[in-house]
């Protein structure tokens, strides 16, 4: 669905930060301090793909609206993948 709910669309950086924390907490995305941007993006895309597959979403590896909608749902704080 092309969702247009919600009064103010959060900024993209907010969504990106939110998604990053979500994947760190629930999909074991590593905290990465070395400034190699290329690798970081890859890992996030991989983890996004893992999360999309888990929830039966279209596996795009990108932060699309549907994936963001799923991340915003109230849920359990236990990770979806084994640590």
């Amino acid at each position: 669905f092309r969702a247009h709910s919600g009064p103010v669309a959060p900024s993209e950086t907010d969504d990106h930060e939110f998604a990053k924390n979500y994947l760190k907490k629930l999909y074991n995305m590593e905290e990465d301090n070395t400034p190699s941007f290329g690798r970081k993006v890859n890992e996030m895309s991989l983890k996004l793909g893992e999360m999309q597959e888990f929830f039966g979403l279209k596996v795009t590896g990108t932060l699309d609206a549907e994936t963001m909608e799923m991340m915003k749902k109230p849920r359990c704080g236990v990770p979806d993948v084994a640590a």
Binding site: A3, H4, P74, V78, A82
Partner: protein, 371 residues
């Protein structure tokens, strides 16, 4: 997901639990009852027994905390993470923490039902990981289900019994068997009879029980979701659904109640009488919007009504026999939708395809679900 090396489980079937503190949202008795019933969900299908203790260290320590509560997993304020629990083990193992920045409730749909949240967390306390089966109790996201009629779904029963075995000392009374765990409806069941079908912005939604399948023109797979996953307010087991593309609204109907959806949002709450149906009509079987005539058709038994959406008036001469306008349609219409000039009338597992009022094909309802 597939490389799980460890399984966590308790080495004894007799476990203790202790409620360390309470949320101000509910009375002490309501919290006690919710926690006890949540544990019984698992006890009912395994040999596990739960004994409450009021002091000292229990296997499952239960507490309501906020923010950072020094276990390495801070809570995040209202919504977001509702609770978490630790897998079986000593110390914090088995413990369940509930985010008291949430509003927990006992019976109402207000806030988050503590029984449902607790039953899920105790699944972790007993060693279960999350499940990706929609509708499973161990599915990661919260979804309201009537706690009074809650039955542990089959996926959860299967997984907990894989850890602890079944509840041997409660033989099944053949006269009064346990309610069988609900199973997700199977899209490829040849006898699949759908509750309702509608289009939605180019997609097709097929409703059955508390689920719906979503068919996207550009996607190859058929995805199943809980209705409440997208629309928490909507009921299960709906009667009918139709889309009016010119207003970008989808109407979901159950009994005399009608919900108008715009994407994810419920934007109106109506009743059948809003569509000119007499008050004597308490329930309908199917509905479809005819984009050519701009009329909404409502099917009831073997007859149907035609409502002029623009004129906001029921057409004269209705209800009429369905067969009069759709020759060959002699059985009850149970679902309907229209696409590319074809009107599809579902009757149980069969679908009658009409084009310009002529029956052009008879299909199986699951032929749309890419079996």
């Amino acid at each position: 997901l597939k490389a799980r090396a460890l399984t966590y489980k308790w080495t004894t079937n007799s476990l203790t639990y202790r409620i360390e503190n309470y949320t101000p949202d509910m009375s002490v008795a309501e919290v006690d009852d919710s926690i006890q019933r949540a544990l019984q969900v698992w006890a009912r299908v395994t040999p596990l027994k739960f004994k409450r203790i009021y002091s000292g260290i229990a296997d499952i320590m239960i507490s309501f905390v906020v923010g950072d509560h020094r276990d390495g997993s801070p809570f995040d304020g209202p919504n977001g993470f509702l609770a978490h629990a630790f897998f079986p083990g000593v110390g914090i193992g088995g413990d369940a923490h509930f985010d008291d920045d949430e509003t927990f409730s006992f019976r109402s749909t207000r806030g988050y039902n503590l029984f449902l949240v607790a039953a899920h967390e105790f699944g972790h306390s007993l060693g279960l990981e999350h499940s990706n089966v929609p509708g499973a109790l161990m599915y990661p996201t919260y979804s309201y289900t009537n706690p009074d009629t809650f039955v542990l779904p089959r996926d959860d029963v299967k997984r907990i019994q894989a850890l602890y075995g079944s509840n041997r000392d409660k033989p099944v009374n053949p006269d009064k068997p346990e309610p069988t765990p609900p199973v997700n409806p199977d899209a490829c069941d040849p006898n699949l009879a759908l509750d309702a079908v509608t289009t939605l912005r180019g997609e097709k939604l097929f409703f059955k029980n508390r689920f719906f399948w979503r068919i996207h023109p550009q996607l190859t797979e058929t995805d199943q979701y809980l209705i409440k996953f997208f629309w928490p307010e909507l009921p299960d087991n709906i009667d009918a659904a139709f889309e009016n593309p010119s207003t970008d609204l989808v109407y979901i109907i159950k009994g005399q109640k009608v919900w108008a959806l715009s994407g994810y949002d419920v934007v109106q709450r109506l009743s059948l009488s809003s569509f000119g149906l007499p008050d004597t009509v308490k329930k309908i079987d199917a509905a479809v919007y005819d984009v050519d005539t701009e009329k909404a058709l409502f099917f009831l038994g073997k007859s149907y009504y035609s409502y002029d959406v623009n004129g906001k008036v029921m057409d004269r001469g209705f209800p009429k026999p369905v067969e009069q306008s759709f020759p060959g349609m002699t059985t009850k219409v149970t679902a309907a939708f229209q696409e590319n000039g074809n009107t599809y009338l579902f009757s149980g597992p069969d679908v009658f395809q009409y084009n310009s009022g002529r029956l052009v094909n008879v299909l199986k309802s699951n032929s749309f679900l890419r079996c």
